[in-house]
Symmetry: C2
């Protein structure tokens, strides 16, 4: 996939008034902005991933066709590519990196889109998981700049139960003495592996494991070989401070946590003026259809299409071709409106 | 609750041939055995609990009325009261305590029931969670000794997804350097707290948290105060080796893992000759209705009553009075057959 990688450097001013003077927002662009600058799609990244992991949904013949659209993928602060604990110099290095809300990140994305790229209106903001949180924030914060909104396995506010899951990841990192409050010199591998194994239970559904699909994620013949070969390896490579940063961001996501809506989620949902598509997955264990169903009636023009899958939250990771086609088709429908 | 506490001491011979010479099976008895010795009910304990935590279902006027029935509650090996890593002398102390299967435990319970107490047939074997695993094992292993079987939030074999959850608990303990492979002198508190916070997400349902019922579990006004005040405290007191022992037991539960059935779960289910009642909870995240529905057609006489609750797995803990009444009423129905 041909991506143009660029970065937008500027101050990141966080919710609590901390300023990181030259924060870097790294973004990838697929396709070209047209003269009218009205073919831009924003597709923010998810937890622990970069723009690369969004590419399976972008390409010729797909809904997000770079021949038709200019797809911009901003990397979320904390993901290790944009400014993060792992790549920021003192005094904001490691555990001293400030806590960043989804709203903080979206405000910087807004500067990039409107001031740097000169785009006044996005044809679509779409995201999965934490990407969906950013998309939701965009539509609620800048209703006149978002024509369409697609929320794939996301919510307007992090559910309490979802926060419990995230707090368990944080507790697992803290359980490892090597973590040392974020001042580790060698990675807290025990904690990171525990994070991976906790995630393993939440990311895919009970039915997915029941069908034995975990064994197909590699050359695995037992549950233990899968946990060790897939999840331990995946999380051993992650930076613990980055994980702490992103989980904090995730836990505190709330489109109504601002002066305009003062915690009134209904008010924030009513502010959305985009043609909206909510796409929960039937078997997602933390971003649930029930939560989207509660949001739907409060959004002016809102469709809900449940993804009929046993892949749980991971249905939109690109690992399940059937679900990828379902999502691509739904996005095509939304873009045709 | 008046309980007669006694212990049965004898060799515990485990699945891999290890023998703990004078293992202690501590059991509580509520009510008296009648002359015909046909009014005995066996009600094994659940994960991390003793006979005390079963008492909410026992009492005058309840289905398990000690005026009518003799309710025997054997404490599961590993629970800290019966022989466990925490209370067994060398050479089987701490991490040297052998791994024990549900079948190993049930074989000792069978000695107690038949040889010591002289009971040839149990009117009912009932259990919740790991207690349900023991009940299932009883009915499949000793079909001519079990008249009725009640499985509350349990399964004939531990589901793969359930094992993933349990492996995450084990990884969290191992992540704490204080664990030291089970040779800790001071408890691995970080690991234990992480275990509590992982458990918090699985034990109750998403809907339960959504309704804010977690705040009613104590004097809590935030999620963090609940996690710290309820779960951290609960698991800080647990013995890590005992938790490792019991999670191993739980993971390896399979009523067909024996020479007779050789892993054929259908064959093991067909061996059951008890009037059976499967009671999954609608919102249980690890012992699921889907698994019980797959078992039901293979058991000769089997009813399934789903507990209509948002309390998730914990509906049968005694914390939810409505669910306790539902279960009590269902047990009354089963005992009336």
């Amino acid at each position: 996939m041909d991506a143009a990688i660029a970065e937008h450097v500027g101050p990141l001013i966080t919710h609590d008034g901390t300023t990181v003077p030259a924060a870097r927002l790294v973004y990838a662009t697929y396709g070209k902005l047209n003269r009218a600058r009205d073919n831009a799609i924003l597709f923010p990244t998810r937890f622990g991933a970069t723009h690369r992991e969004n590419e399976f949904l972008i390409g010729p013949g797909k809904a997000l066709d770079p021949g038709r659209w200019c797809v911009i993928v901003p990397n979320l602060f904390g993901n290790g590519l944009s400014s993060s604990p792992s790549n920021t110099p003192a005094p904001f290095d490691g555990p001293r990196f400030p806590s960043v809300t989804i709203a903080d990140a979206v405000r910087v994305q807004h500067q990039l889109v409107s001031e740097v790229l000169g785009i006044s209106r996005l044809a679509l903001v779409v995201g999965w998981s934490m990407g969906a949180q950013q998309a939701y924030e965009w539509a609620a914060r800048y209703p006149d700049r978002v024509s369409r909104l697609a929320v794939i396995c996301g919510a307007a506010r992090t559910a309490v139960h979802n926060a419990v899951f995230l707090e368990s990841l944080r507790a697992a990192i803290r359980a490892d003495a090597a973590w040392a409050g974020g001042e580790y010199r060698t990675p807290p591998l025990g904690g990171l592996r525990a994070v991976g194994r906790i995630y393993a239970g939440w990311a895919y559904s009970q039915d997915w494991y029941r069908e034995g699909l975990h064994l197909g994620m590699g050359d695995f013949d037992t549950l233990e070989s899968y946990l060790a070969g897939y999840w331990d390896r995946l999380f051993e490579q992650r930076d613990a401070n980055n994980l702490m940063s992103m989980t904090w961001t995730w836990i505190h996501h709330d489109i109504s946590a601002n002066e305009r809506h003062r915690g009134d989620l209904r008010s924030a949902l009513r502010a959305i003026d985009a043609d909206t598509l909510l796409m929960p997955a039937r078997t997602d264990l933390y971003f649930r259809t029930a939560d989207n169903l509660a949001e739907q009636p409060l959004i002016r023009r809102c469709m809900l299409e449940e993804i009929p899958t046993i892949w749980g939250h991971m249905c939109a990771s690109g690992q399940s071709p059937v679900d990828t086609r379902f999502i691509d088709s739904a996005l095509r429908g939304l873009l045709g409106r």
